[in-house]
Amino acid sequence: MKLTPRLALLFRPARVTPAGPARRARRRRAAVAVGVGLALAVLLQAGLGLAAEFSLYLRDPGYADKELRLRKQFAAHPGAPSVVMLGTSRTGYGFYSARIREAMAAGLGGRAMAFNFGIPASGPVGHLTYLRRLLADGHRPGLLLIEVLPPTLAALADGPLEARFLHGERLRRGEVETVIGYDFPAEKTRREWVRSVTVPWHALRFPIMGRVNPSSLPWHLRYDWSRTEDPAGWTTPMVTDLTPAQAEAGLTRAAGEYGAILADMHPTGGGARALADLLALCRDQKIPVRLVLMPESEGFRALYPPATTERLYAFLAELEAEYGTPLIDARGWLPAAAFTDGHHMLRPGAEAFSDRLVREAILPFFRGR
């Protein structure tokens, strides 16, 4: 068959010049460099991915740092009555654990241990995950306080509120499907986890950089929350003096964050189910639990319409009835001056809240045992 000239052009053999020894050596060097580079890149990715799967120190520094401190506290106070509070940044600033431990020790006439396990932007799904990790590591508190942040119970279009912060890369493989069961966006969460093991140098860059050079990251990406914590997990509030204008601006910011959710909140979302499962887990593990509604300023409480408040208390009453977990309602315990933004406590607020918590809830619990 005779090809047309244009088609024949397709099959025309190319002219090739033979390579000399120097050129061959250069090519060999290039091939080795590219090959080694590729192999090492794959190895480095796989190595970090594997390390992250085994160590939460890389994957979830917020949790890992807390856990390490908690371990030290348990080791420092073996066998002492212990109270751990799981919560959000509200707990982080408000549960003054060292002060609580001292008050407990004085009240109970011996040693005591109190630990603040407040992690910012967490919620019931995160708390359930953390408790499972803690139990797996052998930590069992004498009393577990669980903060209830009402907006995290809401059924939102994109899953629980905490799904916006508890990304797939912060979870272990076995935890991914669990959080998806609580309405976390399935595809996104799975994809984030997969990326954290396939390209961990990119997916885990913020936790890593947060450890290596935190000042190179903006605040919202820094995972070095633990830097400002004391050994008992309490985060010392950075703000000491607050002008009324700053407090007002803080409240406005908080209202922008939560106002729309609270305006028509139904505690029926994945967060609400996770809270129930968390209480069920505690019941199974025979861990005494108290739910805590943290203090809020009058201005912040005004964000709750009556119907929302009614639904919230009805839901918590149901939980109390089903799991026997009393509610500590501290919402009205503190005046507006005790907060930076209507719900995060300043130091005097944390002291007042902690003192009252010990007096009205923790000491009666341990004395009653």
Partner: protein, 523 residues
């Protein structure tokens, strides 16, 4: 008048064809450093090199199809538009070669240039000119009532890379007309010249004479070339992800709302922007050149450490070399270049740089940026002539200290000009106080810089900015002194490979929250 009266659309029109919709899902962004693109490119690479070497034309077709799909994933309709104009340019070229009649050849060349410039103006400058026209009419008391039109319905999206491939097509038409090259007879080769995916979206602006000859050489797998390609790809990715995007965190908020920040922060933002724009565009160019190398093609080098230039003229010989040489060959020299009087040369410089500014963006800020560079070039020209007649001054300027001073002065002048290099923004309901006009924003920047103003500090701790600036400076010095090449030649291959892996991991690790688009994609 609202600035967005004739605004460009935010996103390209959505295609109705399911095939291209699927393609858009697979390749959502035309960025070289995204995982989706790299997977796409690996597939292209695999097919390309699997084809036997003797089937060169088949390989060219593979690249043409891949390049078309790369563009069509982002906008199928615009991909067809680019292909159609390329076909037209091909025919114009053939037509020019088919006749010896100078008048006909000239008419065909003018038609080709006219077509390309019309399309460029329609998509890129339509809004700008209509806005100006509207302003003029309103000022004259004859409101044409454009504000009543549905602007969203008539908004156009500026095709990515339109300024780049328009210039390539124009240079081809002019070169064929001048008989510098023969018109390309092979359609796939010509399609590849314009559509070649490494340079399609943001340059470098290739010349037909350089590129088309390469398409005729059969490509064979060459490890040295692959190494160079991988190296450039990694270097570009590092520049973009670890430096440019990181610097954007410092400068973007300040360039958007300068009056909220203090004087020191604004000055540092200018430094950050200078680093950012260099690493952003040179990083993109490195990646483009690297990708081309992996396919066996060599694109022109677009940057040569421009911030070490000793004067603005040298800066333009080192910055965006493919554009500056294009402007020199197809605008400055035809205008008369530096052959005429001093005044004529200065005029030619000003015209060239002003049009060069307008090429970058349809806004007065870009025009003024071009004017500012024109003035700098003219000033330098006059000063150089002045210094030449004063040997002592000339000798002082040639010393190490003098050279250092000149480099710093050039960097300072260029950085001050970058403040003007800002597009107009479109109204953002969440930020009603935003200054929309690029020029007004630049003025606000200058006001903050040259007055002592209190305000917010840098958005991030400045340590990171200084580290990055220091790193860029050290890299420049190592390359200039030849130290890098000396080390590179002596490094054992495995160590070099380890360096590549480390570079990749570092780029990934240092990338900020969300990668920004390439600055030059808007042009």
């Amino acid at each position: 008048m609202p600035l967005s009266l004739f605004a460009s659309a935010d996103a390209p029109p959505k295609t109705d064809w399911p095939y291209f919709q699927k393609l858009a899902e697979l390749l959502p962004e035309p960025f070289f450093h995204t995982s989706n693109f790299l997977l796409f490119f690996l597939a292209v690479l695999a097919v390309y090199w699997t084809i036997p070497r003797r089937w060169q034309m088949a390989r060219i077709w593979v690249l043409v199809v891949a390049s078309f799909h790369f563009y069509a994933a982002w906008s199928a309709e615009l991909a067809f538009l680019v292909t159609a104009t390329t076909l037209a340019d091909y025919l114009f070229g053939r037509l020019m070669d088919a006749t010896d009649r100078q008048k006909v050849r000239r008419a065909v060349m003018v038609t080709s240039i006219g077509m390309n410039l019309s399309i460029l103006c329609y998509f890129k400058y339509r809004g700008f000119f209509l806005n100006e026209l509207h302003d003029l009419l309103v000022a004259a008391g004859r409101d044409p009532g454009y504000a009543r039109l549905d602007m969203k319905a008539i908004a156009l999206f500026v095709p990515f890379g339109i300024s780049f491939y328009t210039f390539e097509a124009i240079s081809y038409a002019v070169d064929v007309y001048r008989r510098k090259i023969k018109a390309e007879t092979s359609l796939p080769r010509f399609l590849l010249f314009i559509l070649f995916l490494p340079h399609l979206v943001s340059g470098p602006i290739v010349r037909a004479g350089d590129f088309l000859t390469q398409t005729r050489r059969p490509k064979r797998w060459n490890w040295v070339r692959v190494q160079v390609g991988v190296q450039l790809l990694l270097m570009g990715a590092f520049k973009k992800m670890a430096i440019a995007d990181r610097m954007a965190v410092f400068c973007d908020p300040i360039f958007h709302e300068p009056d909220r920040y203090n004087t020191g922060a604004v000055w540092m933002a200018v430094l950050a922007y200078s680093i950012r724009i260099y690493c952003d565009f040179s990083g993109y160019s490195d990646m483009a050149v690297g990708l081309a190398h992996l396919l066996g093609y060599k694109l022109t080098n677009n940057f040569n450490m421009p911030y070490l230039s000793k004067n603005v003229g040298e800066f333009w010989r080192r910055w965006h070399i493919s554009l500056s040489s294009w402007l020199r060959d197809y605008l400055f020299i035809p205008l008369g270049g530096s052959r005429g009087s001093n005044l004529a040369t200065c005029r030619n410089l000003m015209i060239t740089m002003t049009l060069g500014g307008l090429w970058h963006g349809a806004a007065w800020s870009f025009v003024l940026w071009g004017v500012a560079h024109g003035l700098l070039l003219v000033t330098h020209r006059q000063f150089a002539a002045f210094a030449k007649t004063r040997p002592a001054l000339d000798a002082a300027l040639q010393t190490t200290v003098g050279t250092g001073f000149r480099i710093l002065l050039t960097f300072f002048s260029v950085s001050l000009c970058w403040v003007l290099f800002q597009p107009d923004l479109f109204p953002n309901p969440q930020k009603p106080d935003l200054i929309l006009n690029g020029f007004e924003r630049a003025l606000a920047m200058y006001k903050q810089m040259f007055g002592l103003h209190m305000g917010l500090p840098l958005p991030l701790h400045n340590r990171s900015l200084w580290y990055t600036a220091g790193f860029v400076l050290i890299c420049h010095l190592l390359v200039t002194r030849g130290a890098w090449q000396w080390v590179y030649d002596r490094l054992p291959a495995p160590v070099l490979g380890a360096g590549y892996a480390a570079c990749l991991c570092a780029a990934m690790l240092l990338a900020p929250d969300s990668g920004s688009s390439f600055i030059y994609f808007q042009f």
